[in-house]
């Protein structure tokens, strides 16, 4: 548990990383360094997107599964990983 905590701290301290959010199975952010309203908004929106992406991947081949989803926009990159019903979200500005 402490290792994961340390890893998340390091990610947050990494150059260009704006924030991290860990969302539990119920859709509630349990650990984040952003403000609550932003975190909740990200959690809600990305949950749906992840579901859709996962559904797409599995529809094509049911033995496959989604591991990571990276959405790159003009301002930053959002990285999402669904794992064990939890969701890990990292927002980074890649070119600083």
């Amino acid at each position: 548990m402490a290792e994961v905590e340390e890893t998340l701290k390091r990610i947050e301290a990494h150059r260009g990383v704006i924030g991290t959010i860990v969302v539990n199975a119920e859709g509630i952010p349990i650990r984040t360094n952003l403000d609550n309203s932003t975190a909740v908004q990200y959690a809600g929106l990305l949950r749906n997107l992840t579901q859709l992406a996962r559904s797409t991947v599995r529809d094509i081949d049911p033995q496959n599964d989604l591991t990571y989803l990276r959405v790159r926009s003009k301002k930053y990159e959002i990285m999402v990983a669904p794992e064990n019903d939890f969701l890990l979200i990292v927002i980074q500005n890649p070119c600083e």
Binding site: I11, H14, G16, A81
Partner: protein, 676 residues
Amino acid sequence: MPVPNSNAAASVRKGSTAQKVPGAKSSKTASKKKDDEEGVDTGDGWDEWSHGKALIKPPDQLELTESELKEEITRILTANNPHAPQNIVRYSFKERSYKPTSVVDQMAVHFVLEGSLLHQDSDEARRLRAKEGLVEGTATVDTETEPDEEKPETPATPLEEVDEAGEEDRPDSVASKTDKKEPKVTNQFNFSERASQTLNNPLRWEIYDAYIEELQKQEKNKEKQKAAPSKKESDKSKKKMMLMETQNDDISKVGKASKTFERMANQNTFDDIAQDFKYFEDASDEFRDQEGTLLPLWKFQYDKAKRLSVTALCWNKKYQDLFAVGMGSYDFTKQGHGTLVFYSLKNSAFPEYIYPTSSGVLCLDIHAQHSHLVAVGFYDGCVAVYNLKEEGTEPVYKSTAKTGKHTDPVWQVHWQNDDMDNNHNFYSVSSDGRVVSWTLVKNELVFTDIIRLSLNGAVSEGPEGAQQPSIACGTSFDFHKQIDYLFLVGTEEGKIHKCSKTYSSQFLETYDAHSMAVDAVKWNHFHQKVFISCSSDWTVKIWDHTISTPMFTFDLNAAVGDVAWSPYSSTVFAAVTTDGTVHVFDLNINKYEAICQQQVVAKKKTKLTHIEFNPIYPIVIVGDDRGYITSLKLSPNLRKKPKGKKGQELPKGPEVEVAKMEKLLSLLREPDQSTV
């Protein structure tokens, strides 16, 4: 007048119901007779109307007398069929006469309907059931295709919660049904009962998941049946564990993902380096006339080991992006703790594994087959074995004073092939003049002295006549790649001894290599006779082990810390010096000079201590005395393969490399005339 009449009328009415005359006529006669009392009941208008009715009389009406009208006739209902004949007569052949049948069947059938119920166990029912089984099979196939056809029509995915709830309800009902009808296989996807039908539109992968779950349940049931009582207990305890886990809102569930995300974040930040590592080939090498360059890639640094210098480097053979770094200090006065760190190229910001040690690490080796075992030699003379798969920062094996640890720093360790009992073992060499073999037997580290290095190779006579063998200090060694028992040891006096594992008292041969300590000695990966040595006396020498003088000598203007052969060519090697320069040589191209001499560290005061080539990628890692590890990419000129003649296919493989080297050596050997 009306009152007495009404009484009489009531009694006559009763009588009229008992008449045999049809009801319509009787009512008419009644009305004809009692028009007065009817008129009284309803009023005057009614009187005139009833008069009109009373006048009509059918012509064929029976004329009955008063007494006959009053006669009461009883009607009896019997169970006899009125249509049944009362006297059936049959001819009896026995008595040769007509005989009346005594009992006539009185049953009258009013209505017949053929029913479709069958008793379960009757033949007919069994036959039907068998037919039903076949029909069901074809029916399920039909219904399965339906969900697939529905799928493209559905636009949006249904909410997962609704689906889960739906699926949970179905298996329960389905389970009860399957018990009753065994040959019929029903599940929530092709079982359709109108009463419980909901619009589900299951997706292809939901169907797949449900089938996989069902399969796992069946397998579990089979296992349970095979080993019933003991497993039940373990299952209970497992169930408890499961409950505990699901209740925790633990972020350790995203452990794996967070590790990968750290790498992703690094990839984004150092995107250009990653691209260079993979794809960049310096095009200007064509114009550089045989010379090459080294492109700096990632830099690795561990915060807590800033004051330490890199004392050992080793690539992992199995996971070729993972390398081990031993950190300690070469300075006799500045001895403290040390660390063993593992880095991956995928994450240059933070090590993958960290092991702090009490004494400085001087050497390390990763096992070739079991890449989770790492042998480490320390400044205080101990050796230890770490298992990367184990949790915790302590080594799994460690030598102590009792178990034969060295009395001087251990300069080199090397894993060997498993011995006859399939135990892992490794060798170590130290300044105390011993070459020791350590075997991992169960929980212990068992040591065996292989050889004691003495100055003269044999027992020497001391000045007072006492026969005291003076001990040489071993500083490096290397084992032959093919010949198992053969190895080389470099000493502090500058000599290299060729030894055999089996002879403990004598050396096979001694080479007077250098004037100062031999820092590294390495066999060539391809050519079996060639080895290289480097020393603090500024020289690098290449030898043929059958010849006592060096084949090549190179002077590098500064103390050489380390030298390494490249894994892709028999004639390419690299050396690092204390002035921060990396020298790369290719004997095939230039026998006298380096084809690349490049400074890779910023400050001139930084000394480079070690260098290692990656087994598959064209990169080298260089460690320095400030605790930095720099990775460099070799430009194409440094990686040249021999060119074939026009039209000939380029030969590949180790034989080519061997041949290349042999050609070079043969040019040098002609004056020696020592080839066989």
